[in-house]
C-alpha cells in the first residue's frame, strides 16, 4: 500500500477533516476538537529485588540469551457479569502461542507462575509512599493486591499484581491544578522479543520489576500540556532518587479522546517528546472516524441490519491479483455495502480508513501485512479492469466498498469475522482500543481496550497495612517539590535550556548547594546544564564528586571558570586526584602580575599577525586563557588583553 503521500490520496477527506500539522495547530485547534488527554505514567523503582519474588531487579539480557523456554495460552475468564471481556475474546481468537524465555539469573518459578507470590518488597512500597506524598494523594490505610488481567501474554499469569497506594492527588501543569486519580505500585511485564504469525515471544528479565503508575485525570487539554505533565511526573519521580533511569525505565500510556469520540489508549510511549505528535494525530484520527460514521449513517438507514458479503477468490481469477496475493495465500473478496469511497478516507499522515482494517487483520487474525487491497488505493497494483471483475464476483454496486483480503487459509475465517466486526464498529464511531505509538507520530491498533471487569482481588496475598509511622518517616525526608524547584531555577536566572536537564537528572539539590556556597547561580546552572551534560550524556552523575571539586577548588582559591573544565573531567575520570585533574586541564599557578607580563609578551607578536583589532583580541585571549584559567577571573583577563592590544 502506498503510504508516503497519503494526504494527497484522498484530498477531499483531508479537507473535510480539516487536518493541520501540529506545528500549525493552535489552542483553538484543540478546543474545537474537544481534545482531552490523561496520562498513565509507569516508572520502574530502583530496588535490589523484584516486587513479589527474590530475583535481582534491573538485570537485563538480550532477547536471544535464555536458558529455557515455555509455552502458555491465555484463556478468557468470565467477567463479573458472566460475560467475556472484549479484549479477552479478541486475544483468544488470535490463538497465539506465547513463548517465554527465561534466564536463571533473572527469573524464578514465580515469574513463570509456578509459585505463588512471596511477601511484597517493602523497599518498593516505601518509595511508592514517597511519590504518593509528592503527588498530594490520600494514602490508603491498607494495600490490597489486585489482579489486573492482561491476555496479550505480556505476563505469564495473565494478570498483573497491582495495589493502590494513594488516590485523589494533584500536580501543577500549565498554571493550573491537574488531578491525579491514583498512584499504584505494580509489577512490570515481559519484554516482547518478536510477534510473528501465531507465535509471540517474550523475555522475562524485566518481568516482576517494581513499578509505580501515576494516573492523571483527563484534564490535559493540549498535546503540549500532556508532555508538560509527563515531564513533571518524571522530574518528581527522579527527585526521590529511588527510580531507574534509561530506556524503558519510564513509559507512558496516553489516553486521548475528542468531542463525541472514545477514550483510546496509546500504550508504551517510550519518549515524552513523542507525546505531542501522537496525541495530536490521534485526535484527528478520532475525528476522521466520526466523520466516516456520520457519512455511513447518512447512507445506511438501518445500521443494525447492515451486513457484508464475501466470496472466495476463485482459481480462475488468481491471475488478476498476480504479484499482490502470494501464491501460498488464500483470498476473499468482500462487498461492504455503501462503503464506497470511504476506505481511502484520510485518518493520519500516511494512513487511511483501510489501515484500521489491515491493523486488526494483523493483530486478531495474525496475518502479516500487506493483507488487504481495495480499488480506492491510487497506486493499486491491481488494474481497474481487474477490480471491476472482482466487484462483479461479489456482486458489488457502484457505491459499495470492495476489499480483497488474503492470508493463510486457516486464518481467513477469523479474518472475515474481524473485518465485518470492524465495519459494524464504524457505525458507532471510535472503537475502544489500545494503540501502539510509532516514532513517526501515528499509531496502530494493538487490542480492544479492556473494561473495568478485569480487576480481581489477589487471593494469594493478604492486605498490607500502611502505618502512620511509615508515612511520617517518609514525609520527614521528602525532597523539595518539583514546582518549587522550577521556581528556584527561574529565581536563579538559570537559562531555560538547562531547566529540563537539571530537573530530569535531579540536580536541583546540587545547584542549590552551589548557590549556597556563593557560586553565581546562572554560572552554576550552566556548569551543570551545559558542561556536565555535554560530558556525561545519559551516564550516572556522581554529585558527591561534583561537590568535592568545588570544595577543592575553593580551598586553592581557583577562580570559577576552571570549574567548567574540572567538573566534567572529574566525573569522566572518577579515580583522578585533584592534582591529576589540574594537570590534565593544563593549570599552572600564576599571579596576576605574571599573567599581565605574559600578555604583554604575546601582544607584540599578535599585533603584527592580526591587523584587525577584534581578531587580535580573540587570538590573544585564546593564547592566554590556559594560563589565566583558575588564576584570575576571565573578565579581568579580557580587560587586560583589551588594554594590551589597544
Amino acid at each position: 500500500m502506498k503510504k508516503d503521500d497519503a494526504i494527497s490520496e484522498n484530498p477531499d477527506s483531508h479537507n473535510l477533516l480539516g487536518y493541520v500539522r501540529r506545528a500549525e495547530a493552535t489552542q483553538e485547534t484543540y478546543r474545537t476538537l474537544g481534545f482531552r488527554c490523561g496520562l498513565e505514567v509507569h516508572q520502574q523503582l530502583r530496588t535490589t529485588k523484584k516486587l513479589f519474588c527474590r530475583c535481582p531487579a534491573g538485570h537485563y539480557q538480550d532477547g536471544d540469551d535464555y536458558d529455557a523456554q515455555l509455552v502458555r495460552h491465555m484463556r478468557p475468564t468470565l467477567s463479573e457479569l458472566g460475560e467475556y471481556d472484549g479484549t479477552a475474546l479478541m486475544e483468544y481468537k488470535t490463538k497465539k502461542n506465547i513463548i517465554y524465555r527465561i534466564k536463571g539469573e533473572t527469573a524464578c518459578t514465580y515469574d513463570i507462575d509456578d509459585t505463588p507470590p512471596f511477601a511484597v518488597n517493602r523497599q518498593a512500597i516505601d518509595i511508592a509512599i514517597e511519590v504518593a506524598l509528592l503527588l498530594n494523594t490520600s494514602i490508603v490505610g491498607e494495600l490490597h493486591i489486585a489482579r489486573k488481567q492482561y491476555l496479550d501474554g505480556s505476563i505469564p499469569t495473565g494478570f498483573q499484581r497491582t495495589a493502590i497506594i494513594g488516590i485523589d492527588g494533584h500536580l501543577p501543569v500549565a498554571g493550573k491544578r491537574v488531578g491525579v486519580r491514583q498512584l499504584s505500585v505494580e509489577e512490570d511485564s515481559c519484554r516482547e522479543v518478536s510477534d510473528v504469525g501465531h507465535e509471540r515471544t517474550y523475555t522475562t528479565d524485566r518481568l516482576g520489576m517494581p513499578l509505580i503508575e501515576t494516573v492523571t485525570e483527563p484534564e490535559l487539554l493540549t498535546p503540549d500540556e500532556a508532555a508538560e505533565a509527563a515531564n513533571y511526573i518524571r522530574y518528581l519521580a527522579r527527585s526521590t532518587r529511588h527510580v531507574n533511569v534509561g530506556i524503558g525505565a519510564a513509559r507512558e500510556d496516553v489516553n486521548v479522546s475528542v468531542e463525541g469520540g472514545t477514550r483510546v489508549e496509546i500504550k508504551g510511549v517510550q519518549h515524552i517528546r513523542w507525546i505531542p505528535e501522537l496525541t495530536h494525530n490521534e485526535a484527528f484520527r478520532q475525528k476522521a472516524l466520526l466523520l466516516i460514521r456520520d457519512e455511513l449513517r447518512r447512507r445506511v438507514s438501518a445500521p443494525t441490519a447492515w451486513t457484508a458479503t464475501h466470496v472466495p477468490l476463485g482459481d480462475a481469477d488468481r491471475h488478476l491479483v498476480d504479484g499482490i496475493v502470494p501464491s501460498t495465500a488464500s483470498a476473499v473478496i468482500f462487498r461492504l455495502p455503501r462503503f464506497g469511497g470511504l476506505l481511502s478516507f484520510f485518518t493520519n499522515p500516511g494512513r487511511t480508513f483501510a489501515d484500521e482494517f489491515s491493523d486488526r487483520l494483523k493483530v486478531v487474525a495474525c496475518i502479516a501485512v500487506p493483507n488487504l487491497a481495495h480499488p480506492d488505493q491510487p497506486a493499486s497494483a491491481i488494474s481497474p479492469a481487474a477490480w471491476r471483475t472482482l466487484a462483479i464476483r461479489v456482486g458489488a454496486k457502484s457505491n459499495d466498498g470492495v476489499v480483497l483480503v488474503w492470508g493463510p487459509a486457516a486464518d481467513l475465517p477469523t479474518a472475515v469475522d474481524t473485518l465485518v466486526e470492524r465495519c459494524r464498529l464504524a457505525f458507532q464511531g471510535v472503537p475502544n482500543e489500545t494503540r501502539k505509538g510509532l516514532p513517526n507520530g501515528t499509531t496502530i491498533f494493538e487490542r480492544v481496550l479492556p473494561g473495568p471487569d478485569r480487576m480481581y482481588p489477589d487471593t494469594d496475598s493478604a492486605p498490607i497495612p500502611i502505618e502512620e509511622e511509615a508515612i511520617e518517616r517518609t514525609r520527614a525526608r521528602l525532597p523539595e517539590s518539583v514546582d518549587r524547584r522550577m521556581a528556584a531555577l527561574r529565581a536563579w536566572s538559570a537559562p531555560e535550556d538547562v531547566h529540563a536537564y537539571i530537573l530530569r537528572r535531579d540536580l536541583s539539590p546540587t545547584l542549590a548547594w552551589l548557590v549556597e556556597r556563593k557560586v553565581d547561580s546562572a554560572f552554576a546552572a550552566t556548569l551543570l546544564g551545559h558542561n556536565v551534560r555535554h560530558a556525561m550524556g545519559a551516564r550516572e552523575i556522581d554529585v558527591e564528586r561534583v561537590r568535592w571539586v568545588i570544595v577543592e577548588a575553593a580551598e586553592r582559591d581557583l577562580t570559577r571558570e576552571i570549574l567548567r573544565l574540572l567538573v566534567p573531567l572529574a566525573l569522566l575520570e572518577p579515580a583522578a586526584t585533584f592534582d591529576d585533574l589540574l594537570g590534565r586541564v593544563g593549570y599552572r599557578k600564576a599571579t596576576p602580575k605574571e599573567i599581565r607580563a605574559q600578555i604583554a609578551r604575546c601582544a607584540k607578536a599578535f599585533v603584527a599577525r592580526h591587523p584587525e583589532p577584534e581578531a587580535r583580541v580573540r587570538a590573544l585571549m585564546g593564547c592566554i586563557r590556559p594560563l589565566a584559567m583558575g588564576n584570575v577571573p576571565l573578565r579581568d583577563t579580557a580587560a587586560w588583553v583589551e588594554e594590551a592590544t589597544r
Partner: protein
C-alpha cells in the same frame, strides 16, 4: 456479627455501627488521610479488625484504617449478586457419554471479587459456558457428590465415590472424570484403584494447579484432556490426568498407584514414580507410551470393593525416633502401620522392642522407602533381616501413600493377617512392579551442561 457487617469485628465493626453503614454501602469516608469514595466490601475473617475495605470506582480495593476515620456518609447501597451463566450443553448421539463426578475441586470457577468467594462452575451448562470445547468431545453430564477440599477427602468419600462409579458403569457410561483438588489426588486415585477393579471404561482424575479464574490456568486444558481420555481412550484404568510439562502442551496419564504430587505449586507437579506414565494426551487424542494397560471393554462388569479400615497409619521414620511413637499407636488401637523407612527400608535399633510389642499385639506392619524411588531390600543389611524377623513386611516398590491406602483397604475387608499379607503383596493395579525400567527414575540435575542444553531445546 450480622450479614450487614460481614467479616468485621472489633474497632472496625464499632465504626461501621457508629456511622450506621454496612457491607454494600456506597460511602464517602472522611479520614485524616483524605476522602475515599467506594463500596464497603465484606472483610475476610482472617484479616485484622482495624481496617475497612472499599471498592473504588476503578475496580481497585483499598483498606482504610478505622482510627483515621472522622466521618462516613452513606450515599446509597449497591449489593452484587454474581451467577455463572449457563448455556445448554449441546449433545449428539454419535458422541461418547462422559460423567463428571465432583468432589469439591474447582475445575472451572470464578472469583466473586466482591466477596472474595470462589464460585465453582460445575453444571454441564456452566462448564460449557466456560469451556465450550467440551461439546466437541463428548456428551457431558455431571454430579456433585460432595464439596470438600482435597485435604478433607477421606474413607467415606472414597467409598461413596467408588459406589458412584459402579452405578455409572452399570448405567452404561463411556468414561468417568473425577474433579478433585490436587493435594491428595494421588491418595484418592490409589483408593479408587483398589476399590474399583476391572473397570470396562477409563476413570480419569483431574484438577488444576492454578485456579480457573486466571487466564493462564491449567484447569480448562486439564478438563479437555480428561474428557478426551474418558471419551476416547482405550485405557480402562484409574488414572490421573495433569500437565506433562509446565508449558501448555500436553497432559500425562499416570497410573493411579504410581503417581505422586511432587511440587507444592508447579503445574507439572504430578509424576509417575519408578515407572513411565501410561500415555500422553492432547486435545487431538491419547497416545499410549506403553501397551501393558487394561483395555476398554464393551461389557458392564466391574468389581466394587468399598472397604477401608480407619485405624491405619503412615509413619515417616527419622533418626532418633523413640519406641513410644510405635507403642502409642498400638495403645490407641491402630491395626496397621506403614513405615516409610530410610534407604532400603530401615529404622533404628531402639525402636525394635516397640516393633516386637506391636507385632505381638496383632498389628500389621509394612515397610516402604522414603526415597520414593526403588525397592525395599531388607536382605542386604542385618538391620533389614532383623526387622523382618521381628515381623515387618517389605512392600517391594509400593509408594508409601499407596501402601497406606492399600493396607487400610485390606484391613477393611479382613482381620486375618495372612490374608492381609496376600492382598498387600499381590499387585492389583500396578502398585508393585516386577521390574523397574531404566527411565523410571529421572531427576535431572539442573546446572549440568548437557541438561542445560536439553532445557534450551525442549519446552519446560
Amino acid at each position: 456479627m450480622s450479614d450487614a457487617h460481614k467479616g468485621y469485628k472489633g474497632e472496625a465493626l464499632d465504626v461501621l455501627t457508629r456511622f450506621q453503614v454496612g457491607v454494600w454501602s456506597d460511602v464517602d469516608v472522611e479520614s485524616t488521610r483524605g476522602h475515599f469514595r467506594g463500596i464497603v466490601l465484606p472483610r475476610s475473617e482472617f484479616d485484622d479488625s482495624r481496617h475497612l475495605v472499599l471498592k473504588l470506582a476503578t475496580g481497585y480495593n483499598v483498606g482504610i484504617d478505622v482510627r483515621t476515620i472522622r466521618a462516613i456518609q452513606e450515599l446509597g447501597r449497591r449489593e452484587a449478586h454474581y451467577k455463572i451463566p449457563e448455556k445448554e450443553f449441546p449433545t449428539s448421539p454419535d458422541k461418547p457419554n462422559v460423567k463428571l463426578l465432583g468432589t469439591g475441586g474447582t475445575i472451572a470457577s470464578r472469583l466473586d471479587y466482591r466477596t472474595g468467594a470462589v464460585i465453582p462452575a460445575f453444571s454441564p451448562g456452566e462448564l460449557y459456558g466456560a469451556v465450550p470445547e467440551l461439546a466437541d468431545i463428548c456428551n457431558l453430564s455431571t454430579e456433585k457428590l460432595f464439596a470438600v477440599f482435597s485435604e478433607n477427602m477421606g474413607p467415606s468419600q472414597y467409598i461413596e465415590l467408588a459406589k458412584a462409579i459402579g452405578r455409572e458403569i452399570e448405567n452404561g457410561i463411556d468414561g468417568i472424570v473425577i474433579g478433585h483438588g490436587t493435594d491428595t489426588m494421588h491418595h484418592t486415585a490409589s483408593a479408587l484403584a483398589f476399590m474399583v477393579q476391572h473397570s470396562p471404561v477409563p476413570i480419569v482424575m483431574v484438577g488444576s494447579q492454578r485456579s480457573a479464574d486466571r487466564p493462564s490456568s491449567d484447569a480448562a486444558r486439564n478438563l479437555i484432556h480428561a474428557t478426551t481420555t474418558a471419551a476416547t481412550s482405550d485405557i480402562a484404568e484409574v488414572m490421573v490426568c495433569m500437565f506433562g510439562p509446565t508449558s501448555d502442551e500436553y497432559g500425562l496419564l499416570h497410573r493411579a498407584t504410581r503417581v505422586r504430587k511432587m511440587h507444592s505449586s508447579y503445574r507439572s507437579t504430578f509424576r509417575t514414580v519408578g515407572d513411565i506414565p501410561l500415555a500422553t494426551v492432547t486435545r487431538d487424542g491419547v497416545k499410549p507410551l506403553r501397551q501393558d494397560y487394561a483395555h476398554r471393554r464393551a461389557d458392564r462388569h466391574v468389581d466394587i470393593l468399598p472397604f477401608f479400615e480407619e485405624r491405619v497409619t503412615l509413619t515417616y521414620y527419622y533418626p532418633n525416633m523413640h519406641p513410644d511413637i510405635i507403642d502409642s499407636l498400638v495403645e490407641h488401637g491402630y491395626k496397621g502401620i506403614v513405615i516409610a523407612g530410610t534407604g532400603l527400608g530401615h529404622i533404628n535399633k531402639p525402636v525394635y522392642p516397640a516393633i516386637e510389642r506391636a507385632v505381638a499385639a496383632g498389628v500389621a506392619i509394612y515397610m516402604t522407602v522414603q526415597t520414593l524411588w526403588g525397592y525395599v531390600h531388607m536382605f542386604v543389611y542385618d538391620t533389614g533381616r532383623d526387622l523382618m524377623a521381628k515381623g515387618i513386611i517389605p512392600t517391594e516398590n509400593m509408594l508409601p501413600e499407596v501402601a497406606y491406602i492399600k493396607l487400610a483397604w485390606a484391613l477393611g475387608q479382613t482381620s486375618d493377617l495372612e490374608r492381609v499379607r496376600e492382598l498387600m503383596l499381590t499387585p492389583i493395579a500396578g502398585e508393585i512392579t516386577e521390574r523397574e525400567p531404566h527411565d523410571g527414575y529421572l531427576i535431572f540435575q539442573g546446572g549440568m551442561p548437557e541438561i542445560e542444553e536439553f532445557l534450551r531445546r525442549v519446552h519446560k
